[in-house]
Symmetry: C2
Subunit: 188 residues, 2 copies
Amino acid sequence: MSTATALQAKIINGVNVSALSDTIAAVKGDPTIAKFNFRATNKWMGGDRNRSTIGQFSGALQEHRVDGKTFDFENGEHPVLLGADRAPNPVEWLLHALIGCMTTTTAYHAAARNIAVEAIDSQIEGDLDLRGFLGISPEVRNGYNAIRVRMRVKTKADTAAIKALTAMSPVFDTVSRSVPVTVDIETY
Amino acid sequence: MSTATALQAKIINGVNVSALSDTIAAVKGDPTIAKFNFRATNKWMGGDRNRSTIGQFSGALQEHRVDGKTFDFENGEHPVLLGADRAPNPVEWLLHALIGCMTTTTAYHAAARNIAVEAIDSQIEGDLDLRGFLGISPEVRNGYNAIRVRMRVKTKADTAAIKALTAMSPVFDTVSRSVPVTVDIETY
């Protein structure tokens, strides 16, 4: 998507701002470039275990990772939730996705605004009441009822400016504003 | 949380249903047992790279993984999104969390209902319009605008029954119904 080479590129926060500007210009010229479709497959391995494969995706009018490259990761559950703790559980993975997205977004958007960031360290936690999942209390939701993020950022920008950047995060937007999830089941 | 031993336990779908029943009984007796708090820390490594550490959590009136055991995973971005594709990106990790949670939930809740499940294979995809993240179109959201799940389940139960089980998933609940995310920023 970029015509800027490494030699001539402007790099801020490790982000190629020249390429980012090229991307914005390209998307303004043709909004269909902005349409992305991300995918995963998953296979249950019994009990608490399942494995996702993340590979090909589309965006910028192309398919990517078409060489067969994949990332493969398991979900598990801790013994207190009747598993063997071979991998994080899904609600822990969600925290990884959210805090990672807020961090990347801060680095990228700060770069686009010419704000140097030297370090980002953060903590995230979520409260979950198992009475929802166990079907004991209909008024208790099954998922997280609250998530809290604390982020320390080494930068000359003020806290309000940085907080506004974190809120641009796609995963932050997805979980804090909800997304429709369509579910199609086939049994055999 | 369980008094059932492996020898006497009833196992369905690889899930210890005796222990699950014990858990439900315990939570009914003392709802504070149901309160869980999951956590991660994250460190930015420059550009598209950051690393989460998932360790200790609380639940069932105890702290768990107190021996220092952690799971460590990176976030990355593909070159089309100005990274080096060292790891899935955060919106891909979200799909892993969601499909894994729906799978585990189906296996556990089927077991609790005495429904045998022999296989679960699924596909998940999400649509994202980068015009939101790039700040080009205020009316375009930054996160996913739609997520679709297709799940094939080998079981004698009907599709409606299985679909109802998938909807019990904590991550499904979190992303399809939204959760408040509090963000506290410190700069230095």
